[in-house]
Structures are given as structure tokens and as C-alpha cells.
Subunit: 239 residues, 2 copies
DNA sequence: TCTTGTACGGTTGTCTGATAACCTTATATG
DNA sequence: CATATAAGGTTATCAGACAACCGTACAAGA
């Protein structure tokens, strides 16, 4: 684990990223209202005590996120809300237990529906992939990340079997975020329990999908995610 | 309508955005594999025929998306998939009917669950906001965007009443994307039908939430979104 | 008085060149 | 063989200049 610790040392964030984060916060917390103009690049450079090109790189980042739009000769403006082009999940936010639970609750909604869609749309190669992931879970040694990798793969294959690209993107993204957050919390004891107990739950999901039973697939996925949340000490709502 | 047409003229995209899009495509289409190194800034500047600072701004954008990570003195690398920090929905993709239906199906899963959570967690001010949005729907003149604005507000308030920040962010984002796509398709005739027919459906959602009945809230939201999809000519799956 | 054209000042977009900081590899030394 | 140093290459930041664009003010003409 010592080597892993060193690899987790965080490189300092570059100036443009830090400045973009600050300006982004000003905008998302309402201190710069939508449609309003940002200070000029020259003034921002003086204010932050950096060169203008650092400011330009920061604004390029914000522009890419859709938080800011620039007009040559005029200035940079905070956009109206509906111009935002991406959804971000800040990993640091997930260190907060309530935020983590909130994301897990949202993941539940998506994955339960995905299980039902997979029950309808899966193909034989999809089933083979699920079986492969199950086999990797069975072979996973304790105290390693291998069980988690197999778990992520299982969920990714379920999402892929929906034949819906957005379910695949969203579920893969959210599942990875939640697992990264679990890793960061270093709940090593929880990892072991997850690996052992959830194999049966994953098998139940696989079997419900294979028998093309959407209601049972939903139920199996629900049981699995509630179980996972419970093992993580999270209290989800079953509605 | 003529004035509106003129306001839609599109500004040329700046060089860094265009270059970031090209490099991003190379990465997402697998021609630059995860973990592999990009050409140096100097070489990219020569290849694209631009200055190095344009390249740096492009890379800053890609870095912000998590597609690329840079190491000073070494180079820029395409990231492993799990380092991607945001979910994007490209508006152009939603011009494709199947993609639009896929996103709508995902929206269904989220909004149905949100209605149930709102039934449990809403407050009196939440109900007042829902009523306000309903009043705006009633007052909306045909052939304007006002009905859509009220509809978006209604869904945003439902999501807010879940008391779950991620439901709020995700639902707001997806609802706006779908409405922008509808606008872009200029289905003016459909707009009128949406505004008139769906008020009753929204009222049913509001009432189920107010009576704290999660199952009924789910059912009401389901009927609303299936109805909306049907009016848009989309065939969703009810599972 | 109203409309059109021009000038001016300010701001963003891009370019050029330089140095700092970092990383990797090769070579020298004990 | 292990450690230290040098060299070369690359990114990160800085500074300055000019191009392109925009908004406003003012002048000229109808």
C-alpha cells in the first residue's frame, strides 16, 4: 500500500485551473450574475498577479464549460444557465457523506431502469460479458482493486445491454465517480465485504436479465444497490 | 420571425476551440489511445500552423474536460477513461431522433424517481413554486416560448423538492437539453399541443407530490413524460 | 431632425520570444 | 554497482507587440 500512497500525491494544480475554479465559483454562486461582464483580462491579470496568458487559459477552460462566453473587442460574460454544456461531478464534493449518498440515490434510479432495459434488449454477447465479469469477481483476491474493476465492468455491461448510449455514458461515469470516492475514503474493510457478499447479488441481476424479466431485473438491481449502500453505511430511500 | 433569424447567426469558432475539438475527436475515436502521448506543443503548433499559445489554450480546454493530462517537462497524455470529469451532451447529437429518444428515456428514469422523492421531501415553499409555474403555464400565450419556460421551471422545482443536489443538477441539465433540441427542430405545431395538453398532467404531478404519495407521484410523472414523448412522436418503453 | 459615415479608444485574439521549472537520459565519480 | 551531475527536451509562465473586433462619439449630408 505504501507505493499506492505515493502515487496518490497530488500535483499542484496549475495557475489557469486554479483561477478558472475561482472565477467559476463566483459565477455558480451568483456573485457574477448571468449575462454580466467579467473584468477585463488586463485587470484580472493584475488582480490575480499573473500574466495575461494564464488568464486567457483560465477563460478558455470556462468557455469550454459553457460558463463564460467571450466577444472579441467587448469582453467575457457569464452565460445564462442553459448555455452550460456539461455536467460535472467534483470528486472533492463526494468526500461529504451527504453528497455521496445523494449521488448514490441518483445512481439507483438509473441502474434500476437500466436493468429493466437490459432485460429487454440484451444479446448473447452481452450475457457472455456479464458472465466474464462475474468470473473475475469470483477470482478477485481480497485487498486488491480487482473486485472493484470487475464490479465496474459488470455495471458497464448492464448499461451497454440497454442499447441506449446515454444510459451507458451516465451510468459508467457515475459508477466510476462513486468507486473513486469509496477508494479515497479508504474503507478497506468494506471492500472485502463488498467483494464477497455482492457476487450473489450480481448473479441475481444477470439471471433476471437473461430471463428477460424487467421487473425482476429491477428488483435484483435494487437489492444490490441498497445492499451496497447499506454496507457503506448509507441510508437510501426505497420508494 | 425575421429578427429572430438574424440573431441566430453563428460566430466563427476561435482557433483554440477548433483545435481542441479536432484533438478531442482523435482521442474519443481511439486514434490516440488512453495513456498515449500527444505530439509536443511545438510540433502541434507547426502542424496546425498556429502559435504555441493557441495550442496551449486548446490543451487547457481538453485538460479541463479530463481528456488530457499534462506533465511539465514530459508532455501531454490522453487520459484513461475514468479520469474524464464531466458528462457532455452535444446538442448536435440530439438532432438524431434515436439519440433524442435515448436521452428522453433516461430523463424518464430520473424524473419519475424525482417525483417520488419530492413527494416525501417537499416543503410548503416548494408547493408554492409548483403552483407558480402552473399559473405561468395557464397564462402562456401560444406560439411563444413562455410555456416551455414554465414547463422547465416546473420540472426544476420538482427536482429541487427532492432535496438532492444531483437530481437537481442532472434533471435541470437534461430537461434544458431536450427542450433546446425541440426548439432546434422548430416543431412549432407541437409546441402548442404541449402547452395545452400538459397542464392537466402537471397538475396531477403537483397534487400527488402535495399529498405525499410517492407511488402516485411516480405514476403521474410517468404519464406526463410518456405523453410528451408520444406527442413528439417518440416511442418510449414503459417497464 | 434623422441617417449615415468616420474616427477613436478599449478589449479580445493571436503571434513572437524569453526564462523558469520540471523531467528523463546519459555520463562521471567513488 | 550506486550516487551525483550535466545535458537536452518539454511544459508553464511571463512580457510585449500587432491584428481584429466592438461600442461610442462626433461630423457631415439629406
Amino acid at each position: 500500500m505504501a507505493v499506492a500512497d505515493f502515487s496518490q500525491i497530488r500535483r499542484n494544480e496549475h495557475l489557469p485551473a486554479r483561477i478558472a475554479a475561482q472565477i467559476g465559483r463566483e459565477i455558480s454562486e451568483g456573485r457574477i450574475a448571468p449575462g454580466h461582464k467579467l473584468p477585463t483580462e488586463h485587470l484580472l491579470a493584475k488582480t490575480f498577479g499573473v500574466s495575461r496568458s494564464v488568464i486567457r487559459e483560465a477563460i478558455a477552460q470556462l468557455r469550454n464549460e459553457g460558463l463564460v462566453e467571450t466577444r472579441q473587442g467587448v469582453g467575457a460574460f457569464a452565460t445564462e444557465i442553459d448555455r452550460r454544456q456539461s455536467l460535472r461531478i467534483e470528486q472533492d464534493d463526494l468526500a461529504d457523506r451527504d453528497s455521496f449518498r445523494s449521488l448514490f440515490q441518483l445512481r439507483l434510479a438509473l441502474e434500476v431502469e437500466a436493468a429493466a432495459l437490459a432485460a429487454v434488449h440484451h444479446t448473447l454477447p452481452d450475457l457472455a460479458k456479464l458472465d466474464e465479469a462475474l468470473a473475475q469477481m469470483n477470482g478477485a483476491e481480497k485487498w486488491t482493486d480487482q473486485g472493484i474493476v470487475a464490479d465496474l465492468a459488470f455495471h458497464r455491461f448492464v448499461a451497454s445491454a440497454t442499447r441506449n448510449e446515454y444510459f451507458l455514458q451516465f451510468i459508467t461515469f457515475i459508477a466510476e465517480r462513486t468507486h473513486l470516492a469509496i477508494n479515497a475514503a479508504r474503507a478497506a474493510a468494506v471492500l472485502e465485504e463488498i467483494v464477497e457478499v455482492t457476487i450473489a447479488e450480481h448473479v441475481a441481476i444477470r439471471d433476471a436479465i437473461a430471463t428477460r424479466d424487467p421487473a425482476e431485473a429491477k428488483e435484483a438491481m435494487r437489492r444490490h444497490l441498497y445492499g451496497a449502500a447499506s454496507r457503506l453505511g448509507l441510508k437510501l430511500e426505497m420508494l
